[in-house]
């Protein structure tokens, strides 16, 4: 599936719920499916700055695709990053860099996050794209 298809899929899933308590419940469930970062990468260097809860992210290249893993000490944060990883993981660096993230506005995620968490979300996307830049340079 392309990034755009995955985004559409998530938008459709979120549309199934009537209210934000249910959507949070779903995010908590998604948090439990997050591909966890290996313990050796859970370092200070891999903490994403700008999040109120701790978030670690790591990326590896598998062929020509970037594979992300992550973790957080807060479960809703894990859910948010699980959504991002579902969209961006196992994609080519070029596609990750070119992807727009308007699906976040479409599901209304940003406006339903507290300001600190919304900032954290922006930081997470930035960090995932930074990894893509690094691997694109490596591949070219």
């Amino acid at each position: 599936m392309t990034i755009a298809e995955k985004q559409e899929e998530i938008v459709a899933e979120f549309a199934l719920f009537d209210d934000w308590m249910q959507r949070y419940e779903y995010m908590i469930e998604l948090g439990k499916t997050l591909p966890l970062i290996a313990p050796e990468f859970k370092t200070e260097d891999n903490i994403i700055k700008g999040c109120q809860s701790k978030v670690w992210a790591h990326a590896e290249l598998d062929g020509d695709k970037v594979v992300f893993t992550a973790d957080s000490d807060a479960i809703i944060t894990k859910g948010i990053i699980a959504i991002l990883i579902r969209v961006f993981s196992k994609q080519q660096p070029k596609d990750i860099l070119e992807a727009n993230t308007s699906f976040i506005d479409e599901i209304g995620l940003k406006e339903h996050l507290s300001p600190t968490r919304a900032n954290g979300l922006v930081s997470m996307i930035k960090q995932l794209k930074m990894y893509a830049i690094a691997y694109q340079t490596q591949l070219s």
Binding site: W20, D73, I76, R117
Partner: protein
Amino acid sequence: MFSTPLDLAKIRAEFPILARKVNGQPLVYLDNAATSQTPLAVIEAISDYYKHTNANIHRGVHSLSQEATDQFEGARDKIRAHINAAHTHEVIITSGTTHSINLVAYGFGHLLDQGDELIVSELEHHANIVPWQMLCERTGAKLKVIPMTQDGTLDMEAYSNLLNARTKVVFVNHVSNALGIINPIEYIIKEAHAVGAAVLIDGAQATPHMVPDVRGLDADFYTTSAHKICGPTGIGMLYGKEEWLRKLPPYQGGGEMIDQVSFEKTTYADLPHKFEAGTPNIAGGVGFGAAIDYMHSIGFKTLAAHENDLLLHATEKLKKIDGMCIYGDVPNKVAVISFNVAGIHPYDLGTLLDKMGIAVRTGHHCCQPIMDHYKIPGTVRASFAFYNTHEEVERFIAGVEKAVGMLR
């Protein structure tokens, strides 16, 4: 089940914001330790000031200026009476507690020598730590810390051992903002005075719940912010004993704080204006005065008794939740509960409560040393005001139970 001498329906009607909905649910506001809500009496005092009196103070020849001055100085005298200061000129109007502490810490820069010592407590808000650390950097003075014990109370034996002839200033909060514990400031002040040190008390978290008697306490400095006691934001007060305020140099230069200005020599105005450079927050001052009147119209003893009932009710119910850990669960505290539930991040809990219309604070509460002490990233803090109800406590408890169920 619960009886209270407060007419809560009437009181709540005086706070328009309490009637609003948040995320589709009636608001349950339990973040009063951060900012209390504002009653109509205060909103109208500010509004009336702008509608009828607005002018600059202290120097106008015209009537509006005189009336504005009277209102602002009237508010200063209300504060004086409220805190039982001997003189109105011992009350400095500031933008709040943080401003007050910076003003005093700056002033002591001129009174300290290298090797002098300052004492802070581990329970302090960052606002009562950082200005003094900056002072230490400027002067070479040393910062000593009164440690907290596991239950959140201060170790008074350790405090006594820190005091010596080099101790110049001790600064502690009257009530801890992160835990709600009332500190033994009478003892702290007495011991500090025995070695000749001055004491600054940060009263931001005490003043919503009790009347500070600065003379009874013999505090050298006492400060609070209006927005903690139903007043507007951006205004507060610093009480200082006259002898100390005379020793401290002005904090900022400008209009209002001068006596004579020439390029050869400027002389400063007398107290309190020496510390009030520039046009003050006049409407804020008027609102502060109105807030003090409002709080007294309810009565501090009455409101504290009701808040204590809410505290006991909420504490008892919270303790029944599996994995509950309340920090600073000691008898001598105000209506603040700081807690975590095992295995759950406070931020997750706070987020879900917000979706249910329940406002609490999560995080380190500007008290990272306390969080480091307990080795936690933060807590959930519910802080109650006199306008909160037992029904709201029940909704809060049900909300925590629901969120915990979702997060486990």
